[in-house]
């Protein structure tokens, strides 16, 4: 299995799409950090803040969440003397769902690459067990998702440092290293889980379109909105109050803040592990049972 894993890592390392998605993660993180700065600067004006509050409430009504995520109270507290902590900025970028979208696209494109081009026919005799393929693929995808999360976080910090230097300080400053590592670690786990899940959707459906739509719906919280409809139906017909949305990985990605508490960490890790386990089991079953065309 180690040999197959080496092969997967070799391919992903050599693949242009891997590096393209990592570069996109870095660029989007930098752009979103700059947008946070621009928005913060703009909202120092009272009139602009009112318009912003109105726009935020409209977006929430639609249920879409991709873009710069800012807590209005955070803006209110913000003045010339205060500055963002790096971990808050990093957290904001991940909460936006843009990195989730990138990792999902990566997972979908690499999920069944060797099945689509037929390279698997060269490997099937070389593998003792066919299940090694999805398992090693999941490990390799996880490693590259960690690279993407770290690269995105570093991009946010670097951009914040540059903006602060150019604007003569005031925008961002270093906070708690442990809080920063906690955000990166937690987001890595959650992004791995959602990537593996989308990888399995791709493996099972063999449809790039369905998998990408699923990934986009997940990253833009459309799935969360759909689940809230289910919640209301359950409440109406069974008189039970449930919040299914809070049990999906994307919701955890959106809610994972720099000051997350222990309860959040435990719940998010359990949800991520469950999603990842179901995803790997699904992939193993699909690859193991199917004939190779």
């Amino acid at each position: 299995m180690l040999n197959i894993l080496r092969m997967q890592l070799y391919w992903m390392r050599r693949s242009l799409k891997t590096w393209l998605i990592i570069i996109l993660c870095v660029v989007f993180s930098a752009v979103m950090t700059y947008m946070t700065y621009a928005l913060t600067d703009m909202l120092k004006d009272e009139e602009n803040r009112k318009q912003f509050d109105a726009a935020i409430s409209e977006t929430e009504d639609v249920g879409l969440s991709i873009g710069v995520q800012m807590d209005p109270t955070q803006i209110e507290e913000f003045n010339d003397e205060t500055a963002y902590k790096y971990e808050s900025l990093v957290s904001n970028v991940f909460n936006s769902g843009i990195i989730e979208l990138m990792t999902v696209i990566f997972a979908v494109t690499v999920a069944v690459a060797e099945f689509k081009n037929g390279y698997v026919k060269n490997l099937v005799c070389a593998m003792k067990k066919r299940r090694y393929l999805p398992v090693t693929k999941a490990i390799a995808v996880s490693l590259f998702v960690i690279v993407m999360v770290i690269a995105s976080a570093l991009s946010v910090i670097a951009t914040a440092m540059i903006i602060s230097a150019v604007k003569d300080g005031g925008f961002a400053e270093s906070g708690s290293v442990s809080a920063l590592l906690k955000v990166i670690g937690m987001q890595s786990i959650l992004h791995i889980a959602v990537s593996l899940f989308c990888m399995t959707v791709m493996t099972v459906t063999k449809s790039t379109v369905i998998s990408v739509i699923f990934g986009v719906c997940s990253a833009t919280n459309v799935i969360g909105s759909a689940l809230s409809v289910v919640d209301s139906l359950i409440e109406r017909f069974f008189s039970k109050e449930v919040v299914l949305e809070s049990y999906i990985v994307s919701t955890q990605i959106m809610n994972c803040s720099a000051d997350m508490d222990k309860d959040f960490v435990v719940k998010a890790v359990i949800i991520a592990v469950c999603f990842a386990a179901v995803a790997i089991a699904g992939s193993v079953l699909a690859v193991g049972k199917r004939d190779i065309k």
Partner: protein, 305 residues
């Protein structure tokens, strides 16, 4: 059993009610070059896929290197296969594609990829991406990938598809070299039967999923032997003349044709005797059946091909 590299017993694959492979029982001995012949959709590829573990058999047994069941599955790494079109990563070079398979097999020998590329005539491929390869180059790389790990059994499904005459000759030479110098057993399917007949040591003919004929190279040569082919109008009268001349081995193949399989040097005498007997001859010549004609005869004629 030690001498048998591949053996199948009533191997069957059903897709719904259709039998893609129907109770195929065959043996491939060590050192054989087994020519697997069949029309499109006859079941050749499905059979090879089952042996390689790509497709699960509906029933029947596969024995590899004398082992069956889970033991044989573990021995699949001793098979190198090129099934249908070669599976390649288009945005990678030939060497990268080979390196990936080497990694999968745990081969870390320096210069090994170059050695394989040289063996299949792709030494000059350089940094060219396989997306820019010609069909022939892709096919050669496919064979190269099958050779990684020096398998004991090489399964090649239509390996000369898309190759030019020079490429076909090179593949033929490569297969022969691997067979003679490295003792590699080869199972090869091809539509170009004349080409297959130049290298195969034994044959299996598959039609509609069933293995309808097994024969050695010598047996095939005997089937395709030279004969006098006579086109005439009265075969019954001609038979009497041939009997009178002491010609025993002949066959009336249709209402206007007789094939004589002995005394080929007496075609002139036969000609004169038939004319004297009042038989009108359209033509008389020495001919030989090619493997293609034999194949068409066995599988039900040219109208089905």
């Amino acid at each position: 059993m030690e001498n048998t590299v591949l053996s199948t017993n009533c191997l069957t694959k059903k897709y719904g009610s259709h039998n893609a492979v129907d109770s195929v029982t065959l043996n491939v001995k060590k050192g054989d070059i087994y020519g697997f012949i069949g029309k499109n959709g006859a079941g050749k590829t499905t059979f090879m896929k089952m042996v390689c573990g790509m497709v699960k058999p509906t029933s029947g047994e596969i024995s590899l290197f004398g082992r069956t069941g889970a033991e044989s599955e573990a021995l699949r790494s001793r098979i190198g296969a090129l099934i249908e079109a070669p599976g390649l990563f288009a945005n990678m070079t030939a060497a990268d594609n080979l390196n990936m398979k080497m990694l999968a097999l745990g081969i870390h020998k320096k210069g090994y990829a170059e050695e394989i590329l040289s063996l299949v005539g792709l030494s000059d491929a350089g940094k060219k991406k396989t997306a820019d390869f010609s069909m022939g180059m892709k096919q050669r790389l496919g064979i190269g990938l099958a050779l990684v790990g020096e398998p004991d059994l090489l399964m090649l499904d239509e390996p000369i598809n898309g190759l030019d005459p020079q490429g076909i000759a090179e593949v033929r030479e490569t297969v022969l070299t691997l067979n003679r110098e490295r003792g590699m057993t080869v199972m090869i399917s091809s539509h170009i039967l004349e080409e297959l007949s130049k290298i195969a040591t034994c044959y299996g003919i598959i039609d509609k999923g069933r293995l309808i004929k097994k024969l050695t190279k010598d047996e095939l040569a005997a089937q395709c032997k030279e004969h006098i082919e006579i086109k005439l109008d009265l075969p019954e009268k001609a038979c009497a003349v041939l009997d009178g001349m002491g010609v025993g081995s002949y066959k009336v193949t249709d209402k206007n044709t007789i094939c004589v399989y002995e005394q080929l040097d007496r075609s002139g005498e036969i000609n004169i005797a038939l004319i004297q007997a009042g038989v009108k001859l359209n033509s008389i010549f020495v001919a030989s059946d090619d493997i293609e004609k034999y194949f068409l005869d066995v599988t039900g004629g040219a109208e089905n091909a």
